[in-house]
């Protein structure tokens, strides 16, 4: 009985979240779990609260609308101190709860582990990317003379699954931002700031590839500054990396 009740609760929870998550991709990194936990908490607070407030507004408008011919003037109430204290204190408590979870999530997501299995340097420039591996292998792709937004010939960032990868992000000129929607994460590339973050991609998505974008407006060809993230399994990756030792690949989009 208890198991069935729990199943129902879980099913309702999942259904609700499936509706609410809309088109948001499922995160594919370990760091993402934090994001979805936080989304759930926010939804569980925001939706009932929003429903209450909208309900109150709609109810007040319909229940207390002026009826034709009724000239009575309502009681001129202005203050109700206990009520005012209530609707001040309750939001403060909610905010503190959200903040505590936010702090934990952010702390975990932003944590850069001391001994990563792989460090990749990502350079963003107008308008393209270059990915530099510790072996010296460098993949560079930039926007062609007459770019085509349909192009799938984009620079590829190859990453191993199931390992902690540290990405060091740099800009060569204006501000850019490294965004992979499937990672539910982005970080800006700004000159003068050394940004590092970890990704640990779920082994179940090995073999898949995900689109990456620049999200910081960086000039004329901003929409074309895209790239692929190709995930391969841990074993394949070491072979792949040694086979590309010291090489440089250059791709032009479109």
């Amino acid at each position: 009985m208890a198991r069935r009740a729990r199943f129902t609760v879980v099913a309702v929870h999942e259904l609700l979240l499936a509706v609410i998550r809309w088109g948001s991709p499922n995160g594919v990194t370990q760091q993402d779990n934090q994001v979805y936990r936080l989304w759930d908490l926010t939804y569980y607070i925001a939706i009932p609260l929003g429903a209450i407030v909208v309900g109150l507004i709609v109810w007040c408008v319909f229940r207390y609308r002026e009826r034709p011919g009724d000239e009575r003037i309502p009681r001129q109430i202005q203050y109700h101190i206990p009520l005012e204290v209530f609707y001040t204190v309750v939001p403060i408590i909610l905010v503190v709860v959200i903040f505590v979870y936010t702090y934990q999530a952010e702390d975990t997501e932003d944590n850069v582990a001391p001994g990563p299995s792989l460090v990749v340097r990502v350079d963003a420039f107008q308008w393209g990317w270059s990915f530099i591996y510790p072996t010296g292998y460098e993949v560079t792709g930039s926007v062609a003379e007459e770019p085509n937004i349909d192009s799938t010939n984009l620079p590829v960032l190859t990453l191993p699954a199931g390992e902690t990868v540290q990405i060091n992000l740099f800009s060569e000129d204006v501000n850019h931002s490294f965004y992979v929607p499937a990672f539910l994460f982005k970080r800006d590339a700004i000159q003068g700031i050394n940004n590092s973050f970890d990704v640990n991609i779920d082994p179940s998505v090995a073999g898949q590839r995900f689109i990456g974008e620049c999200t910081q407006f960086c000039g004329t060809y901003h929409p074309y500054m895209r790239f692929w993230v190709q995930v391969i399994s841990k074993n394949q990756f070491s072979g792949w990396l040694s086979s590309h030792h010291g090489l440089t690949t250059t791709a032009a989009e479109g």
Binding site: W22, L38, V54, F99, G192
Partner: protein, 630 residues
């Protein structure tokens, strides 16, 4: 300004008018527009100019939505698209919402506090002309061969350095924004001086309408935030023309410095664009519920704390830069939702047990409540850094701030236009056309911006002129573009309504809505220097007290208990009789000395009788006093 030493002489004159007629040339038509220092004319100038800017930037938005309606579209070139979104943002933020709010402030704040004009009328005219200069300068960029600025309204360095953006459009942007900023700062100074120095007798701070409070707090935010960004754009100009390297990393400058300076202005700015509009919505909701603003003082404190907190949250625009202390800015940002929530409950409390009339201003105000609520909730999501890492610079953010600034501020602006139009022109807008406007606007707005939340979650980044068909964004973008066309179309009934009403609209008296604040006691439109007479000011709604002396705000808390113990049993019959008798008085002579003394009769409570809390006003006051007194 009147010096204190001069005052005895001032009072010795036997019958002094509230305002003095200053002889001088009187111009009509264009010349009066060009030379006026009257706060009402300047206010109208501001509002009309900023509405023109609104339609201009709205047309740009329609062009952009046309480009994005289908993937891989070639309707606009990349360069044109970038110029359009830059100018759309710049115009809407610097040249429409802010100046429109200042226009209403110019027109209404002096009247609401019973003043004949702003504190510095010529200074006021000067700030309008600066603003107009800003409008022309910023838009002049389109006339140059390389087009207008194309670096976004946020103008992130180092994209703004000459090496990346060489054209003169950018310089015109810097100059024009500078002019608009100076204009706003001058208006801010003027507003503060007006509110502090020119309030009518009896108009203590806690009897100012919420609208005035919000404008006052906004003016302080302007003075705190705008000098910073004015300096920042001046440094940018130096970088571009004098060879300095404040933001240029090539010479050791820091691009992130621009972001800090810009957002230190940019976040208070969004409250500068919101608080005045909260004030407008508050006045509308109170009038059309026929009740005082619920929790008036709480609302003032909420606005003050929004103003205070807004100065410490700028870096929530910079979570993804990796250069800011996330928890600090996250908690401060989240905390803003508390006073904002208080405002919501105040608005609901005002309608609760009221008598809600659904005239067009109230409809727009209700549209404001619903849309702004959604914008507020998405704001909480964006305030959490992990969610912001996903959502920052995607269409989710676009949806969020349009729900706040269009669904919030613009709906409130339309509520204000429909509400105060009779006061501005003496004619009332046609209700039927106004309701058509509202329905089309509400549908168009939500159709445009609701799908953009999902686009953002699907990873569509901002400021892109084109996107691939494979991205899965096509349907939602089409939906959004259709909505944008509906929204643009909704301006048509509005413009027809304004045109027809100005030519042949129904003439109305001073107070067509049964308004509560001082502007409704004078003519529509008010004469020069505003008032023939000012009713006694005993609460934040003197005109209501004048028109409904038997329905002044109920005392609360201790005062209510004392009243119940002492006089409630004899109130029903006698109070009615006394109120009826008092109602015949002319409102000027009946109420005894203004202020707190009137409450002295209640249970020997002395002078501490809730006067500032909207204690019984006008003549009802005198009636109760004779009731409860020994």
């Amino acid at each position: 300004m009147t010096l204190v030493q001069e005052r005895p002489q001032y009072f010795e004159q036997p019958e002094r008018r509230l305002t003095e007629i200053v002889p001088g040339p009187k111009y009509k038509g264009l010349l009066s527009y060009l030379t006026s220092t009257d706060h009402k004319q300047i206010g109208l100038n501001y509002m009309v100019t900023s509405m023109v800017m609104f339609f201009l930037a709205g047309a740009m938005a329609v062009l952009m939505r046309a480009q994005l309606a289908v993937p891989n579209n070639n309707f606009l070139s990349l360069e044109t698209y970038n110029q359009l979104f830059t100018m759309h943002g710049t115009i809407m933020l610097f040249l429409f919402l802010g100046p429109f709010a200042f226009g209403t402030a110019n027109y209404l704040v002096p009247i609401m506090i019973g003043a004949p004009d702003m504190a510095f009328p010529r200074f006021n005219a000067f700030s309008y002309w600066l603003f107009l200069g800003g409008c022309i300068t910023i838009n002049a960029g389109f006339l140059t061969s390389s087009g207008a600025a194309d670096w976004g309204w946020f103008a992130y360095a180092p994209l703004t350095e000459t090496i990346h953006s060489p054209g003169p459009g950018g310089d015109l942007w810097i100059t024009g924004v500078g002019l608009a900023l100076f204009s706003s700062m001058f208006t801010g100074i003027n507003l503060i001086a007006t509110v502090f120095c020119l309030r009518a007798p009896g108009m203590v701070m806690f009897r100012m309408p919420i609208f005035v409070w919000n404008q006052l707090i906004t003016a302080f935010l302007v003075l705190l935030a705008f000098p910073v960004v004015t300096a920042a754009v001046a440094l940018l100009w130096c970088d571009r023309h004098l060879g300095t390297h404040f933001y240029d990393p090539a010479g050791g400058g820091q691009p992130i410095l621009w972001q800090n300076l810009f957002w230190f202005f940019g976040h208070p700015e969004v409250y500068i664009l919101a608080l005045p509009f909260f004030g407008m919505a508050t006045e509308v909701i109170a009038t059309f519920s026929r009740k005082p603003v619920f929790g008036y003082k709480g609302m003032v404190f909420a606005t003050l704390s929004i103003g205070g907190l807004s100065m410490g949250v700028w870096a929530h625009h910079m979570y993804t830069t990796g250069a800011v202390l996330l928890p600090f800015f996250a908690i401060l940002t989240l905390l803003i939702s508390v006073p904002t929530g208080i405002k919501f409950f105040n608005w609901i409390g005002t309608m609760f047990r009221g008598s809600v009339r659904l005239d067009s201003p109230m409809l727009f105000a209700l549209g404001f409540l619903i849309c702004f609520l959604l914008g507020g909730f998405t704001g909480i999501m964006l305030a959490e850094p992990p969610l912001d890492f996903q959502l920052h610079d995607t269409y989710f953010v676009v949806a969020h701030f349009h729900y706040v600034l269009f669904g919030g501020s613009v709906f409130a602006a339309f509520a204000a236009i429909h509400y105060w139009f009779p006061k501005f022109t003496g004619r009332k807008l046609d209700e039927r056309l106004a309701k058509v406007t509202f329905v089309l606007m509400f549908i168009g707005f939500n159709l445009t911006f609701f799908p953009q939340h999902d686009l953002g979650l699907r990873g569509m980044q901002r400021r892109i002129a084109t996107y691939p068909p494979t991205a899965g964004w096509s349907f939602l973008n089409m939906l959004s573009s259709i909505g944008a066309f509906v929204l643009a179309f909704s301006m048509l009934p509005f413009l027809i309504n304004v045109y027809v009403t100005l030519r042949s609209g129904k003439r109305v008296g001073p107070n067509p809505w049964d308004g509560m604040t001082l502007e409704w006691v004078t003519d529509s439109p008010p004469k020069e220097h505003n008032f023939e007479f000012i009713p006694p000011i005993r609460s934040e709604r003197p005109v209501w007290d004048l028109n409904h002396p038997e329905h002044s705000t109920l005392p609360h808390g201790r005062h209510a208990r004392e009243l119940r113990r002492g006089v409630d049993d004899i109130l029903p019959e006698r109070a009615k009789a006394l109120a009826a008798r008092a109602g015949q008085g002319d409102g000027y002579n009946g109420g005894g000395p203004p202020g707190r003394a009137g409450n002295g009769g209640h249970g020997g409570n002395g002078g501490d009788g809730g006067g500032t809390n909207g204690g019984p006003g006008g003549d009802g006051d005198g009636a109760r006093e004779s009731d409860g007194g020994p």
